[in-house]
């Protein structure tokens, strides 16, 4: 049922189709989804706002005369590949969970987590490289933005790894498959979304 239909009801009239709507009365949930999925989607909206604002600030600052772009070390391409790999591994885990092949799900989860740790280590390596080359955060706003966006994205990935760790712990404790499946689905959605955000940020770094 559409939101507009819902909020155009006249609850003070009992013959407005409101009271007689038995399905709605039985299950008034706005979405036929587990609460965890709805919660994650709302959270991703918040994450989107954070990165949108940073992106707007970044684009705004790019127009300033003394903007000197940060070089893109090749390791960033490797890191991007690692994150794509992690996302694919989570997708594999989700598909395996759906099929009930738990061993494959386990493998997918483990590979996804390891690749993500690799991505974060790679990002730290890039930071180290740039610092060695003299691209300090306080030297130019472009440098500062580079460190800011990668740190914010990395912090979100770290948060994801906490959720991943809880999921893996549950798996080791032989939790019910239904619960595990939901956790894997949530992790997968989160990883895909953070990959998308990284691709946008990386693209922004490349064009600037």
């Amino acid at each position: 049922m559409g939101l507009f239909h819902e909020i155009s009801k006249k609850p003070w009239l009992s013959d407005d189709g409101d009271d007689g709507d038995i399905d709605t009365i039985n299950n008034p949930a706005a979405f036929f989804l587990p609460s965890g999925k709805v919660g994650l989607r709302v959270f991703l909206v918040v994450v989107t706002v954070v990165f949108t604002l940073v992106t707007i600030a970044y684009v705004d600052r790019m127009t300033f005369v003394n903007w000197r772009s940060v070089p893109e070390p090749w390791v960033l391409w490797l890191n991007t590949a690692l994150l794509i790999g992690a996302s694919l591994a989570f997708q594999w885990a989700r598909a395996s969970a759906g099929r009930g092949t738990l061993n494959a799900m386990r493998d997918g989860l483990h590979i996804g987590g390891v690749l993500t740790v690799g991505f974060l280590a790679g990002q730290l390596f890039v930071w180290r490289q740039l610092v060695d080359l003299g691209y300090y955060a306080d030297a130019n706003t472009a440098n500062a933005f580079f460190y800011l966006v990668t740190a914010l994205h990395g912090a979100h990935m770290l948060g994801g790894l906490v959720a991943w760790w809880r999921c893996v712990s549950k798996m080791w404790q032989d939790s019910p498959v239904g619960d595990l499946r939901l956790r894997v689905e949530l992790c997968t959605t989160y990883w895909h979304y953070l990959l998308l955000i990284w691709l946008v940020l990386f693209g922004l770094l490349l064009i600037s």
Partner: protein, 591 residues
């Protein structure tokens, strides 16, 4: 068929939803300290918010002492004055009002009013409170560090906020920014709970359009906060980096004391945009829950359904949406393209339309109602008047040509405090007097309540009406002392003294309120389950105060909207939302 009532032949089918697994605490610590019960969390939020709010109140006394009686108190100098101003503003707006409306009332009322056992993510809800407490402690710590808290002004504008010479630049500003970032993380945890609980966890029959307006207000305000706080988060992180590692996100090239600083080509205006992109919705993050609460309370105490429920819901949503396109009216004096000024002035005036609509609907709800002048009702009527006053001066300031001469005067302080200080605080008092009987099982003392109300209400007007005048005369805001200024008449000084004395009297009256709460917990008159004869679900719980899980063995089924008061043909003047159609007593003797 009577309005708002189901036909008695209609039957609600059995539940098809599974009962939610509730977390059950097994020790004192998990039951009352690290509790996952939204009601306990609400009380924790409220207690912390009110405690830090009292600190903010004392800071306002100190500010007023300086303004009313300059050069009198040796413990107030220019630095401490600006620190008081800054901490008072931030504490009241963020750590008191936002936390109390959303963390306090949101946690207590949402599950009860929508018929849920608890929030959907109780563990995260608990974390939300503890992270909030951490934020408050970090902020409070800034009073005890070298240099004291920041004195940058509550808007924390760079570059001055992090430049040498500003009070608290050593540690205070760092702690303020860290505290804000931590607060936002904690709020996000809570906010996700409020939104998802409203969306997914309503009881059978509780359609969106049967929700009480309190829930609509808190729900919409939470969405606003989830979308607006990221701007403050981003601004806070960027300014922290500017302060800690010397980046120049917001720092332009600066010559200080003849010396060129290392900052380079940053944009202070960028901070202002980020701050006000959060800051203006913040007004409605506080106001929308207040709107909802007022709507419900006046309906209960006027024994009449809310006028224009659907319009009220739409107005809440419309105000929420519009609040994101008015932010730059706080920046007229910063300078902007005239077309932008025109745009933001226009949107500012447009947002007055749904707000005025709510105002009319409250008045029309009172019109010919069976008005009971209880304490909650008195506070609500006072709110309507006060918000009207503050709103109208907001229309003045929304216009560029009027705003620019008034922007740096006490007129803005008076407007802001009427609309965002006094008005929501009046609603908080109304809400406490209204829901305290449900939370404690006891009524608050009526006589003390009357005393509290009249002193607060009349006192507020004695404080802020003269302040508008002072602003018109040209008395500037933000000044530590005015000194000898030719265009300010001596009467302004007398008026400032008068305001300060009233502030102290009104402040002391709040102690009566606190004593009333504490004393009534033990000595208040027993309230029963539903002392106001209200229809909403929180008054229909099996026990008072409601136990863990809220509704005993079975969740309520909602049969109607929340405003079935004085329904024609029905014996009682209220019909609870969960009363089955067959159980409604008709005045003709039938059922």
């Amino acid at each position: 068929m009577s309005e708002g009532l189901l036909d008695e032949t209609q039957v609600i089918p059995p539940a098809e939803l599974e009962e939610v697994d509730l977390y059950h605490a097994h020790s004192f610590w998990t039951k009352y300290v690290f509790s996952q019960d939204a009601k306990i969390i609400a009380i924790q939020y409220s207690g912390t918010a009110i405690t830090i709010g009292l600190v903010g109140l004392v800071l306002s006394w100190l500010m007023r002492l300086q303004l009313g009686f300059p050069d009198t108190f040796s413990f107030i100098d220019a630095d401490t004055y600006y620190q008081h101003v800054t901490m008072h503003g931030m504490i009241m707006v963020i750590y008191l009002l936002t936390a109390l409306f959303l963390g306090g009332f949101g946690n207590y009322l949402i599950p009860l009013m929508v018929g849920a056992r608890d929030m959907v993510f109780p563990y995260m809800n608990m974390l939300s409170y503890w992270v909030y407490l951490l934020a408050v402690l970090i902020l409070t710590a800034s009073f005890f560090v070298p240099g004291g808290p920041t004195g940058a002004g509550w808007t924390l504008y760079p570059p001055q906020a992090i430049l040498e010479g500003t009070p608290g630049v050593e540690w205070g500003i760092i702690l303020m920014l860290v505290s804000l970032v931590v607060f936002i993380i904690g709020f996000t945890m809570g906010g996700l709970n409020y939104v998802v609980t409203v969306l997914q966890s309503r009881s059978r029959g509780m359609t969106l359009m049967r929700m009480p307006l309190t829930v609509w207000g808190i729900f919409t305000a939470t969405i606003l906060a989830l979308l607006a706080f990221p701007a403050l988060f981003v601004a806070g992180v960027m300014m922290l980096l500017d302060r800690l590692i010397g980046t120049s996100f917001f720092m332009p090239e600066i010559i200080q004391g003849g010396e060129l600083l290392s900052t380079t080509n940053g944009s202070p205006l960028l901070f202002q945009h980020l701050f006000w992109f959060f800051g203006h919705p913040e007004v409605y993050i506080v106001a929308l829950p207040a709107f909802g609460v007022v709507s419900d309370i006046i309906s209960v105490h006027a024994r009449k359904n809310i006028f224009g429920y659907r319009m009220m819901v739409w107005a809440i949503v419309a105000i929420g949406g519009l609040s994101f396109v008015v932010w730059a009216h706080h920046m007229y004096v910063s300078g902007m393209n005239p077309y932008f000024g025109f745009f933001f002035a226009t949107t500012t005036l447009i947002i007055a339309v749904p707000t005025a609509l709510k105002m009319y609907n409250w008045v029309l709800t009172l019109w010919k109602g069976n008005i009971q002048l209880t304490i909650p009702m008195l506070f609500c009527v006072a709110f309507i008047l006060t918000f009207l006053n503050g709103g109208i001066t907001g229309l003045f300031l929304g216009n560029v040509a009027v705003d620019i001469p008034l922007s740096d005067t006490l007129f803005v302080v008076a407007h802001f405090h009427m609309v965002m200080g006094i008005a929501p605080v009046l609603v908080i008092f109304a809400a406490v007097y209204h829901w305290f009987p449900k939370m404690s099982g006891r009524m608050l003392n009526e006589g003390w309540g009357q005393f509290h109300f009249w002193i607060t209400f009349i006192g507020s007007y004695l404080i802020y009406f003269p302040m508008h005048y002072l602003g018109f005369v040209g008395v500037p805001r933000r000044y530590f002392e005015i000194g000898e200024t030719s265009f300010i008449p001596p009467s302004a000084t007398t008026l400032n003294e008068f305001i300060t004395i009233v502030v102290l009297i009104v402040g002391v009256a709040q102690i009566v309120f606190i004593i009333n709460i504490i004393a009534s917990i033990w000595t208040g008159k027993p309230a029963g389950d539903n002392p106001w004869n209200a229809t909403t679900l929180e008054w229909q719980t099996a026990t008072t105060p409601p136990g863990h899980g809220n509704f005993g063995d079975e969740l309520p089924v909602t049969y109607r909207w929340a405003y079935a008061y004085s329904v024609p043909g029905v014996e009682d003047d209220f019909v609870p939302q969960n009363l089955a159609p067959g159980d409604v007593k008709r005045s003709d003797g039938g059922q």
